[in-house]
Amino acid sequence: MTSAPVPCRVVDRRDETHDTVTLVVEPAGDALDPFAPGQFAMLYAFGVGEIPVSVSRIEGGYRLAHTVRAVGAVSRALYGLRSGGWVGVRGPFGTAWDTAAAHGNDLLVIAGGIGLAPLRPLVDTVLADPRAFGRLNVLAGARTPADLLYTDEFPGWERPFGAVTVDRPSSGWTGRVGVVTTLLREARFTPSDTVAFVCGPEVMMRATARALIHRGVRPDRIQVSLERNMRCATGHCGHCQLGPLLLCRDGPVVRYDQAEPLLTVREL
């Protein structure tokens, strides 16, 4: 783990949607410690500030992709970076998706909006070694068709099952309309032998987890990725506290049986 930001070069920049970009970054000097799917980096936009951003692809252990949605000052500055630009990177931080728990089981990968970004390296891991896992289902929900991420990669996720749904179809959209949980009906999994990985807005994760439990998936086999404001990312400043957890250290990936009692805790 690194305490000072490592200068990294943006080696590729790809527009995903009107407000979201994927930046591929590479350390200029020594490599960062290896990231695992689900972990995050603190990305520093020089002169603007630093924010937590999940790793959305791990390329050969040293190149990292980050998918950033521009919502405020720092994310907008990152969004504005071009190939050849510089970004400071600290990390890896936080807990990873527990893929070992999914060995031999069916997988449900369920994303809402930009929640697909931290799940993509997990999908990569499963696709790289499909025999270690049961059936893979990738279910993604977005606001509109124009907000869907990684659309060119989706065909590769369709076996055995992948589907996307949107809240508001635009004219010409022939896909599904509705919340992401409606896709569960068509997914192929045996609830008692399934591990679910869920990332999206907290309300969506709660609704999804409840739907999964109703269908027979055990709460301890549901992993969610939680977000709280972060500053130090090293478990010292307390900014990311959720009940007894410091999410930069004990999260962002948390099992639902541990997260559920905390998700109704109001933030101060």
Binding site: D19, V71, G112, G113, I114, G141, A142, R143, D147, T165, D167, P169, W173, T174, G175, R176, V177, G178, V179, T181, T182, L183, L184, R185, E186, A187, R188, F189, T190, G200, P201, E202, V203, M204, A207, R215, E227, R228, N229, E267
Partner: protein, 161 residues
């Protein structure tokens, strides 16, 4: 979902019934195959039947003056299509059109209601299962109204930062 191999996916209306009740209900089912782009019913028409979708998807739409038809939801395999037959005024609130070829079990609403009157235990189970579907759709609609994946801040709810 594979809880009912060879049959409809293992949840929803049929899965909520006992084997005996399912058998009695299924005795009324008609196996239908609908090509893609078939208008199944229109808003305001009499809701005299319902379907349980076996494969394919159906889009539910509503006519918006000046904007044509707006799709509000799609329903797929294992889902109940249509619940307006259950209570007055027994008119479709939305219209339905197949997105792709659809296989479904079709049920005549009068025949099912007669069966429910005759076997009240079956009736209660069926109505409870249909109510669960309606509850699911209500929850889904409320979640969508939150505009969850939209921009953070006042315009959308966003995720708690």
């Amino acid at each position: 979902m594979t809880a009912h191999p060879g049959g409809p996916p293992g949840e929803g209306v049929l899965a909520a019934l006992t084997a005996e009740h399912r058998g009695r209900l299924m005795a009324l089912a008609r196996d239908v195959a609908l090509p893609g782009s078939t208008r199944i019913f229109e808003e305001g028409e009499e809701a005299d039947r319902f379907w349980i979708i076996r494969s394919g998807t159906v889009a539910l739409d509503i006519h918006v003056p000046g904007r044509g038809r707006a799709v509000v939801e799609t329903v797929g395999a294992g889902s109940l299509l249509g619940w307006s037959w259950l209570c007055p005024p027994r008119q479709w609130h939305l219209a339905a059109e197949t997105r792709e070829p659809v296989r479904a079990w079709e049920f005549d609403a009068d025949a099912v209601q007669d069966l429910c009157a005759e076997d009240t235990a079956l009736g209660l189970s069926l109505v409870t299962a249909v109510a669960e579907t309606i509850g699911d759709r209500l929850r889904a609609t409320r979640t969508r109204l939150l505009d969850l994946y939209g921009p953070p801040g006042p315009r959308g709810s966003g995720a708690a930062p």
